[in-house]
Point group: C2
Chain length 289, copies 2
DNA sequence: AGGTAAAATGACTAATGAGTCAAGAAGATT
DNA sequence: AATCTTCTTGACTCATTAGTCATTTTACCT
């Protein structure tokens, strides 16, 4: 029984329901069935707890969605729709986390969370951009921000609708629907009927490292290395065990002060499996550089 | 110097910046330059204060937007765009209120605020619906929720963009842009190219009194009476004075326990002006029924 | 100027909740 | 069984803040 995970789940549930400030550490402890002191042995502070929640769940939600990007025998348009579908399915699965995230209320606007949010938005936009360029070519470029902004707003509000409404929307239909709307507007832009409203200049806060080579590119490489490892793991017998090890690595590496020794140790566990060695080494290099 | 208003403004500023829970009554009092005790003589509780803020500003923002609906010599399409424009202008003007509203964090989910939010959404949707039907006729009806939902999400997210970004978006362009996007999607729906995804059933939480005659209809009538008064006032010399009286009536009538005597007294002030008498009486009947 | 009513003040109370830590329970080791 | 180690507990401290109210200041009137 993973107590840490149990705490995260209980906390997400409570905070999603009543908000961060109106959920006390005592309530969370009670809900898990442990004492407050014990809770504090897992998370040194309330802020630390909520940050861990974000780290934990963002990883889960994103992993789901981006795997589809790899299954590369779908035509672009369908793949785009499928990716939304998978994302919406993830939202349904992690409803309480999403509820919490949408409330958006946290501790005194933590530096760290802000960075995380920024990184998330950046990821979303960069993913959208890639898809738009792939679908419509470079000609869409002048209109990309308008399309991306529109997409992001509608996506977000459908998310809100899904987690609040009783009558469940079908993720598949929703994905198609969204892509269809994007398509209509994109074609209108390409036909030169509408002028763009948003440009690079004013959207700078949302473009993460598309200008600065370093940050985002290295992130991309790391992302690839992660994916390689996960993909390889799925082919193995001891899938579950290696997944757990890898998730633990991921968790540790996202901490503010990751313990290098822990990470190195965990990687040794992965490297024991011959079929995983190459991917593990690549990822380890990426993480410890 | 209206101290009550000064408090509302200071509070909006602080709460917009740091959130409801992280803004103390002491800070608000300090910011206005009065004592806490004095603050409590205006607002009996913190919750009461935030409710008053919503009541005060919603009125201001909405008033601006709906006036355009009356200037009826614009063609429907342009009027629709103009209404968005005016609304965006309002957002720019009441930036800190909007910031506060977008944070959405309030006291332990007050019954009253929830009702208010619901009413607001209802108003927005009913306004959108009217415009869509006017522009595209009854045939748009099966697609109205999809269009309205899309519009509402994009509208909301542009609002967020306006209040956060430094580079100011032009409300006029933004209004046109939004209406243009609606138009493209509406035409696509009408051409039978896309199927609707949302229907009355699942959108019931958002349809305020479109089914139940009473509530909304009577609200509409009252709305008309208000507009008639405001319109008449604009033709008068002492515009400013009568506006102030009317705003005061509006404020009082939105209180949880409106003082009927105060309202009756204020109406006497309006009825002194012969040209305003008829409209004032109609409104008074609406309010005191 | 003197007196009275109204308004403003800020020290005080009470509640809440984050974070600590000494003491005790459970488990491991010899 | 005795001892040591690790985990768990919940009573306690301390800071914050909503809301109160006796006292003081201001404004107004005669």
């Amino acid at each position: 029984m993973d107590k840490r995970k149990a705490i995260l789940e209980a906390a997400v549930e409570l905070i999603g329901e009543k908000g961060y400030t109106h959920t006390s550490m005592q309530q969370i402890a009670d809900s898990v069935g442990i004492s407050k002191g014990s809770l504090y042995s897992f998370f040194p502070s309330k802020e630390d707890l909520i940050i861990s929640i974000y780290e934990h769940y963002q990883q889960l939600v994103f992993e789901r969605a981006f795997v589809v990007g790899l299954d590369g025998n779908l035509p672009p348009y369908e793949r785009f729709a499928k990716q939304f579908q998978v994302q919406f399915e993830g939202i349904l699965e992690y409803k309480s986390y999403m509820k919490m995230q949408m409330r958006g209320e946290t501790a005194q606007s933590s530096e760290k969370l802000e960075k995380m949010g920024h990184r998330m938005r950046g990821r979303l936009f960069s993913w959208l951009e890639r898809n738009l360029i792939e679908l419509y070519g470079e000609e869409i470029s002048p209109y990309k921000w308008d399309l991306m902004w529109m997409t992001q707003s509608v996506y977000t509000s459908y998310t809100g609708l899904m987690i609040s409404s009783e009558s469940e929307l079908d993720p598949k239909e929703l994905g198609r629907h969204l892509v269809r709307q994007i398509d209509i507007l994109a074609n209108d832009f390409l036909a030169g009927e509408s002028k763009p409203l948003l440009d690079d200049e004013m959207m700078r806060p949302f473009s993460v490292g598309m200008d600065r080579e370093g940050a985002f590119t290295s992130f991309e490489k790391r992302e690839k290395a992660w994916k390689a490892v996960y993909k390889q793991i799925h082919t193995l017998d001891q899938e579950h065990y290696f997944l757990e090890v890898t998730n633990r690595i991921s968790e540790e590496s996202r901490k503010s002060k990751p313990d290098e020794l822990v990470i190195r140790g965990l990687f040794h566990l992965l490297k024991e499996e011959e079929k995983l060695k190459a991917e593990a080494i690549t990822l380890e290099e990426q993480l410890l550089s």
